[in-house]
C-alpha cells in the first residue's frame, strides 16, 4: 500500500519525460499535416507518405497531445491519477509489440534495427511505469497528501 508521505518523485519524473515526448512527437505530426495540407513551408515533406498518411499522422499527433495532457495530470497528482500510469504501460507494451511485428513482417527492412531498439526501449519504459506507479487507493488521506505534494 502506498504511504501517505511518499511523493513518488521517480514516477513523476518518468511521467513528465513521457509527457514531454508525447507533446513533442504529437506536435511534429500535427505540424507536418498542416505544412503538407496548407502552408508547404518546408522544402521537403517531413514524412515520406501520401495525403492519407498525413491524415493519419495528424490524428495520431492529436492523440499524443491528449496523452501528454493525461501524463501531466499524473505528474501533478500521481495517486489520484494512477490509472494514467496503467494505461500508459499498456499502450507502451502494445507499441513495443507493434514494432516487433513490423520488424518480422519484412516490409520495414530499411528501418529494421531502429524498430528493434524502439521496441526494447518502450518495453523498459513500460516496466518503469509498472513498478514506479502508485497503486490505486481509496484512502482519501493518501490522495490528499499527494495533492498537497503537487501543490
Amino acid at each position: 500500500m502506498p504511504s501517505p508521505t511518499r511523493s513518488y518523485l521517480a514516477y513523476r519524473l518518468l511521467a513528465a519525460t513521457a509527457a514531454g515526448v508525447c507533446f513533442l512527437v504529437g506536435l511534429v505530426c500535427v505540424v507536418a499535416f498542416f505544412d503538407r495540407a496548407l502552408f508547404q513551408l518546408f522544402a521537403r515533406p517531413l514524412f515520406a507518405t501520401d495525403y492519407w498518411g498525413y491524415y493519419v499522422l495528424a490524428f495520431a499527433g492529436s492523440a499524443l497531445v491528449a496523452w501528454g495532457g493525461c501524463l501531466v495530470a499524473a505528474v501533478r497528482d500521481p495517486v489520484g491519477a494512477s490509472g494514467v500510469g496503467t494505461a500508459t504501460a499498456a499502450a507502451l507494451v502494445l507499441a513495443s509489440i507493434l514494432r516487433l511485428l513490423a520488424w518480422y513482417s519484412g516490409e520495414y527492412r530499411l528501418a529494421a534495427d531502429q524498430l528493434r531498439v524502439e521496441a526494447g526501449v518502450l518495453a523498459i519504459v513500460a516496466l518503469g511505469f509498472v513498478w514506479l506507479k502508485p497503486p490505486r487507493l481509496d484512502d482519501p488521506r493518501v490522495v490528499e497528501r499527494s495533492r498537497e505534494d503537487a501543490a
Partner: protein
C-alpha cells in the same frame, strides 16, 4: 477488504506485466538473428539451373503489367535474376528484395529482375511491388522457367513456388554467380552480388 488481500492481485498484475515486458525485450534482442543476409554463397541444389560460366536459358515472361520481357531485353549490362518463393506470405523474402533494392536503387549500370511463379503473383505480392517502388522488373513465370531450371518446389496449396535463388549474369548473359538455397531466412548479401557484377560499389 484487508490490506493483504488488496495487495495480492496488484503484485500479481505487476509480475505478469513484468514477465511480458521481459519477453518483449528478449524477442527484441533475439529477433535480429531470425533472418539476415550473409556473405557466403550457398548452392543447395547443385544439379539445378545453369552453372557458372554457362549461358542462362533464354526466356520471355510477362511483368506485373503484362508487358513481355525477354532475357535479351536485360542484356547489354550485368543483370541480377532473383527467384523468390513469394512476396505475399514470405516475410524474409520481402526483406531480401528490399535489401537488394536499397543496394541497387538508382543504378543504371545493372538490371534487377525479380521472378516469381504465377501462383505466387497474388494481389498482395503485386501490391508489395507497387507500394515499395522497387527499381526492378517483376516477372511472372507462367511458362515453367522455374521448373525447367529445377528450382521449383510445392508451395502452400501445392502451387509451385521458386526456391530462393540468385543468378548474376554478365553483359553477354553468362552466369557469373549462382546462389540457390532451401531456406529463405538467410540470403546473400547485396555487396557480394554487386562484387560479382564487376561494377564499382559506387555508381
Amino acid at each position: 477488504m484487508t490490506e493483504t488481500t488488496a495487495a495480492r492481485p496488484l503484485v500479481a498484475g505487476k509480475i505478469g506485466a513484468t514477465l511480458l515486458c521481459c519477453y518483449l525485450l528478449a524477442v527484441a534482442v533475439r529477433i535480429g538473428g531470425c533472418y539476415r543476409a550473409e556473405a557466403g554463397v550457398r548452392d543447395e541444389r547443385p544439379d539445378a539451373g545453369p552453372r557458372v560460366g554457362e549461358t542462362f536459358p533464354t526466356f520471355t515472361l510477362p511483368d506485373l503489367s503484362g508487358t513481355r520481357i525477354a532475357l535479351g531485353d536485360l542484356a547489354g549490362h550485368p543483370a541480377v535474376l532473383l527467384f523468390v518463393p513469394s512476396l505475399d506470405w514470405s516475410a524474409p523474402t520481402k526483406a531480401r528484395v528490399l535489401d537488394l533494392a536499397d543496394a541497387f536503387g538508382g543504378r543504371r549500370d545493372v538490371t534487377l529482375a525479380v521472378i516469381l511463379t504465377a501462383g505466387a503473383a497474388t494481389p498482395r505480392s503485386r501490391r508489395f511491388a507497387r507500394e515499395h517502388a522497387i527499381p526492378a522488373y517483376f516477372l511472372v513465370d507462367a511458362a515453367g522457367l522455374t521448373e525447367q531450371l529445377g528450382i521449383g518446389v510445392p508451395g502452400p496449396e501445392n502451387a509451385p513456388v521458386a526456391l530462393p535463388a540468385t543468378f548474376v549474369l554478365d553483359a553477354a548473359g553468362r552466369v557469373v554467380l549462382r546462389d540457390v538455397r532451401r531456406d529463405p531466412r538467410v540470403w546473400l548479401e547485396p555487396s557480394v552480388i554487386l562484387a560479382a557484377t564487376g561494377l564499382s560499389p559506387h555508381s
